[in-house]
Every structure is written in structure tokens, then in C-alpha cells.
Amino acid sequence: MKKIINLFLVLAICLLSISTAFADETKNFVFDNAASIVEEKEDELNSLSQRMYDDYGIEVFVAVASNLNGSISKFSQDIFEHHNTTDDGVLLTIIEDRNEAYIYTSGRMEGLLKEKDIKKLIDVYQNSISIQQGACDVLMALNAELEKDSVQNIPADRLNPRVVDDADLLNTGEEQALLSKLDEISETYQCDVAVVTVNSLQGKSARNFADDYYDYNGYGMGESDDGVLLVISMEDRDWYVTTHAFGLTAITDYGLDKMSDKFVPYLSDGEYYNAFMSYANSCEKYISMARDGKPYDRNTAKGEDRKDGYILGIVPSIIIALIVALCVTLKLKSDLKSVAPKRAAANYQIPNSLNITNSYETFLYKNVRKTKIESSSSSGGSSSHRSSSGRSHGGGGGKF
């Protein structure tokens, strides 16, 4: 008996500690006192709010009450101040019996959402078919607003030169030569090609650092901010190529593979200038091909890798030729041979004399084997992801 009680206590303590950990992870942004929102919709609203919180640092709450005595704005303020953990936030209040909606803003959101924006959001709510759908629609509209806004944090013009050598890997002459090369390529093809070297990624992952550096320093030419940026971090010897807009089109996954095969060995050997020049040349080639309408990719590469492809192509041809020739000649050789002992006496079996007297089949055992199916790799193109700014970036990286 004692043992059981002890076990129970231990389990309870474990569960409690675990649940508090969980509590932090999934915040609740929805307070439904009118029971108007079903569980699935509530989960959907919570995940939308969670995403906005993760991406932009804004808390978006939804509160539903069946009726209200008093002013809705005071009510909303009270609820918000009761639940918020940051200054920047939005609260959507819905009073069920009046079918009234109210939007309360705080902190950064006060400045972001003007009166007309708030009116637009209320209209979105009123135009929807139900309370829960309305809440969803408003949250999605908010998300779009936040995304638009974050984009505006991105400078229109490039703040830094195309070569930034904070890690001091190049001497003055090399830096000059590289800069003029990159400037030339960028201007010719109207697509930024840049190199940045740093000593540390400041705690960010190589991908995030590169994407953010590109976005918040205004890299990219033209309306879409087309460009490619190579970031080298000496702290953990990371390299990362980030691409945006046309840069994403021009540098495909296949192209990035081939390009990095060429310049990463230089990085490993400490020949930074050669590495960057190789990077620049590859970018030039890929961007010009993309401008011609045929980005360098798995299926278009054949024509380009002229020298390597044609020489390597000899080897499989030779192997096939040898195998075919062997088959043909061995067949001709066997034509010469016609003498062999007989294996059995089938010709002397009296027809229909086969008589089965006993036959049975007994099941013994079975075993099952399970193998994982590898999904085939994509046949081309560029993979992309969203950076913290909300913009779509491509590229990849590694270590040297």
C-alpha cells in the first residue's frame, strides 16, 4: 500500500512539472465565455496567434462574451491588461447578443493600425458567416497587415557595399578587385552579387544571419530586390549563400551544389580570394543563363558542362560496348557446340502415365520484412523558405 502511494506521488509530481513546461509552450490567446467557438476553430485561432507572436512579437487575443454591461472599450482594455505579457498587442472582442465586434490596440499596434485599418477589420468580421469564422478572418487579415508592415522595415537601397570584409580575410588589393568584379556583374545583369565575411554569427543560425543581413541591409536590385549574397563566418567556419527573387530563380539547388563544389575547397584551403572569385564567376554564369530564360539546373546543365560531360560519357559507352560484344561473341561460340549429355529422360516418359498418389502442403511459418521507401529527390528548381522578415529566400550552406 505504501509503495503504491509513493509511486502515485512521484508520478503526480512528474506530471505537474511536465505540464508547467508545456504551459509555457502553448499560450492561450482565445477566451471564449460564450462557448461560441468549437474546439477545432479555437485551436486554429490559437495557432494563428502563436504564429504572429513568434514571427512579429505581437500578441493577438480573441475574447467572446455572451452579453455585456458597460462600455466595450473598457471591457477590452481590462481583458488585454489581464492577459498580456508584452506591450505590443491586439484584442478582438465579440459580444454575442449584440453581434458587436471591437478591436483594442496597444503599443506598436496603436501606431500600426490606423482608424481606417481598424474599420476594415471590423468589416471583415461583419461580412463573415459566424462568430468563429469571423474571428479567423480577422486574425488572417491582421497577419497580412503585419507582414506588409515588416516588409517596410526593409531599406529600399543597399546600405553596404557589395564586399564587406569584417573578418579581414582579404587584403586591400584583393578587396578592390573583388568589389569591382561584383559591381560589374551586378550592374550588367541587374542582380546584386555580394560577399560578406564576419567573425561571428551572433548566436543566429547561418541561414537566419544571411537572410537577415540581406534583408535589413537593403541588398537586392530592382523592384523585387533580386540578388545573391555569400556570407562567411569564421567563428564556426560556416558559409551560406542566400538568394532572393531573381537570385532564387538563377541559383537552383543543383546550381548551388555545383557552385559550392568549386569554391568550398578554396575556403577550406584558406584561399579566400580564389573562393570568392570562383563564387562570382559561377554566379555570373548562372545569372546570365537565367536571364536568357534557361536557369542552370539538372536538365539544362548537360549542355553547359561541355568538356566534363563529353569525356566522362566515354566510360559508360565502353562498358556497354564490352558487355554487348561479349554477349554476341559468346553466343556465336556456343553455336559451335551441339553435344551435351541429357539431363533427364523426359522423352521416354510414357504419356499420361503420371499418377499422383499422395500430395499435401503444410504451412510452416512466415516472416515479414519492412523496408523504408526513400522518397526520390526533386528533379530541379530551387527550394525556398521564409526568413524573419517574412520574405522568401533560397540558397544553402555548409561548413568549410
Binding site: K302, G309, Y310, G313, I314, P316, S317, I318, I320, A321, L322, V324, A325, L326, V328, T329, L332, K333, D335, L336, K337, S338, V339, A340, P341, K342, R343, A344, A345, A346, N347, Y348, Q349, I350, S353, L354, N355, I356, T357, N358, S359, Y360, E361, T362, F363, L364, Y365, K366, N367, V368, R369, K370, T371, K372, I373, S375
Partner: protein
């Protein structure tokens, strides 16, 4: 007295233990579980494994009637020791059909058994010659000189002695069969293999399984010109020998028996195997064969023979004197072999190179 029996696992051979949870016998090594009844059957079948019992009753051949042997002469070959028999009228027996050495008349034929059966020659010498020429045609690696230098005229008609075996064969064969089933679920492919013990017992009748009774005549050559159609066989008369040579048997029936046994056993297993259907793989584990009503006969079969020497090697060709089937290994021209090899390799290399590297241009 208690008897302890240990069952062995059919999959890995480990000793099985009874698993009370599943009520089956379980193998601690490979984790397979077996039904107790299936195991008992399997074990019984294994223990029942009998030895082959292939016996033959001696009753072949007849004795010569008086006067029959008078007209038959025996010739001895100096080169290989073959004993050739023919009748008085035939003067063609001057060279040994096996080694081309001259033969010498040694006297009248005597002793030995009289053949039970003979299949008379159905095809004449012209047919044999034509067959030889056809055999040489179209062989790309045959040395050109060979075609010119062979001695076609020297083809001889010889009656080759055979022992013919008849029997009813009873076979017990055990097979292991597998059935495979595959399916996909999620990201995995599942393959289920079920193992079965398959048993077949049955009987098959055989008639006229031939074994070459002449040590001079290569067995594989004689087997290659099979089959002979026994329905055309007749009782032996000395008259059939006229114009042809005959070889006396020098391999006894007892010595030929093992070859007949091997072929009949194989055919019996094949016949039983043919009744097993529905499995993805079937492998014979053990078999035992017993004969009943077995007997053998002594027969003479017609064969046209030509032997040639070329480049120091002897080449023997044979044609079935009844069906016309022509066999004989031919020499190979090494030069021609490598010429063909090089040419084929060259052309294939060029074509495959073009297709591999420029194929997309053709295909668009």
C-alpha cells in the same frame, strides 16, 4: 521408458521450445513460431527419408539361332581396339569409324547376345552428307579451312549398341515452397514470406531409356542425337546389317544402369515438381525413388558417323539415322572470335556514346 524428442527449427536449425503464451513451438534464435502439428508432420517426413531403390531385372537379349551368325564377320581396329561387325557382303569395312585406322578381319562373329531390337536406317548416305553441310553453314566462328578440308565421303553408317530401360518409377519428393506477398503502407514496403512443406508421391512409367553400350562411342554424343522413336523398332534380323557396320557392346547392362537411374530419377522428380503450383519459389529438399516392373533390352540404333582430324584435334560428328538430327562440336577460329568482338564493341560504343550524350537532341 520416457522418450525425449527435440524438434529442430526448420528455419535456422535451433532447438525449439514450447511457448505457453502462443501455444506453439518457438525458436529462441530466430523468433519463429510453429504449429505443433505442422512440426510433427515435417519431422515425420524428414525421418521417413528412404534410400533410392532402383533395381533392374536381368532379362535382356536373346540367344542366336543356329546359322544366324554364319554370315557375320568381326573386324578389329588396330588403332583403338574397336570390334566392328558386319556381314559378308559388305566390303566397306576397311576403316574404323571411330579413329580412321584400318581394320582387320579377325574372324566370324561368335558369342555375345543377339539384339532384341533394331531400328533400321531411314536416311541414306546422301542425306547424311547434306546434313553435314547444313550443320557447317552459318557458323560465323568456324574456321574457313575446316569446311574445305573435311572428308565428307568417309561418313559411315554404324549400328550402335544400346541398352534400353523400361520401368515404373515411384517417387516421394519433399519441397520447400515460398509464397511472397508485398504491400505498401505509409512510407514502408512490407514483404511477407510464408514457408510451406510440400509433399508429392506418385508414379511415372518409362519406356526405352537408352544408354550407349559402346565404350568407343562417346555417351554425350549419343545422347545428343536422341530421341529415337521406338515404335519403328523391329525384331533383329542379320539382313539389316548389310551395307552397314555394327558395333559390339562392350559396356554391360550393369555398368549402364547408373546412367539410366540418374535420368529416370531426375524425370520422376521433374514430373512431381510439375504438379506443384501457386508458389513463388519451390526447392526440392529430398527425394527417394523406387522402381517396379523394371526390365532392359539390348538394341541396335542407326547412326551416321564422320570423324575428322583438324589442327591435331579429333572431331566426331553423328547423325541420327532415323530422325536426321545432326550434332558435333566444331572448332573455333580464335582470330574470328576477336575480330567479331572488336567490331561489335566498336560499333556499340559509338552508338551508345551518341545516344547517351546527344540523345536528348533526338528525343526533343
Amino acid at each position: 521408458m520416457a522418450q525425449t524428442m527435440a524438434y529442430k527449427c526448420p528455419s535456422c536449425g535451433g532447438e525449439l521450445e514450447f511457448d505457453s503464451q502462443s501455444q506453439k513451438m518457438s525458436c529462441p534464435y530466430c523468433d519463429n513460431k510453429y504449429d505443433v502439428e505442422s512440426l510433427r508432420q515435417y519431422d515425420e517426413v524428414l525421418n521417413q527419408q528412404q534410400a533410392d531403390n532402383m533395381e533392374w531385372n536381368e532379362n535382356a537379349g536373346q540367344s542366336w539361332a543356329d546359322g544366324e551368325m554364319d554370315s557375320m564377320n568381326v573386324y578389329i581396329c588396330n588403332g583403338c581396339g574397336a570390334e566392328i561387325v558386319t556381314d559378308d557382303a559388305t566390303t566397306g569395312a576397311t576403316f574404323c569409324p571411330y579413329c580412321n585406322s584400318p581394320v582387320v578381319l579377325s574372324g566370324k562373329f561368335s558369342g555375345a547376345l543377339k539384339p532384341d531390337l533394331v531400328i533400321p536406317f531411314a536416311l541414306d548416305k546422301a542425306a547424311a552428307v547434306a546434313s553435314l553441310e547444313k550443320h557447317l553453314k552459318g557458323k560465323k566462328l568456324l574456321p574457313k579451312a575446316f569446311k574445305e578440308q573435311n572428308h565428307i565421303e568417309e561418313v559411315k553408317g554404324v549400328y550402335v549398341p544400346f541398352w534400353l530401360f523400361d520401368t515404373d518409377s515411384h517417387g516421394n519428393v519433399n519441397f520447400e515452397g515460398q509464397k511472397v506477398r508485398t504491400w505498401r503502407s505509409g512510407n514502408y514496403r512490407y514483404t511477407e514470406t510464408s514457408h510451406f512443406l510440400i509433399h508429392r508421391s506418385g508414379s511415372v512409367a518409362f519406356q526405352g531409356v537408352p544408354v550407349d553400350g559402346s565404350s568407343k562411342m562417346p555417351d554425350d554424343l549419343m545422347e545428343s542425337i536422341e530421341p529415337f522413336d521406338l515404335s519403328k523398332a523391329v525384331d533383329f534380323q542379320t539382313a539389316y546389317l548389310s551395307g552397314y557396320l555394327a558395333d559390339k557392346y562392350d559396356v554391360t547392362a550393369e555398368e549402364s544402369v547408373s546412367r539410366a537411374n540418374a535420368r529416370i530419377k531426375q524425370s520422376t522428380e521433374d514430373a512431381l515438381r510439375s504438379t506443384v503450383n501457386g508458389f513463388s519459389s519451390v526447392v526440392a529438399k529430398n527425394s527417394s525413388v523406387t522402381f517396379s516392373n523394371s526390365k532392359y533390352k539390348y538394341a541396335l540404333y542407326p547412326v551416321w558417323i564422320l570423324n575428322t582430324t583438324w589442327n591435331g584435334e579429333r572431331y566426331l560428328f553423328a547423325m541420327n539415322g532415323q530422325t536426321g538430327k545432326f550434332v558435333g562440336n566444331l572448332p573455333m577460329d580464335k582470330g574470328a572470335f576477336w575480330r567479331w568482338f572488336g567490331l561489335t564493341a566498336g560499333i556499340t560504343a559509338v552508338i551508345s556514346y551518341i545516344l547517351l550524350n546527344f540523345g536528348n537532341y533526338f528525343l526533343g
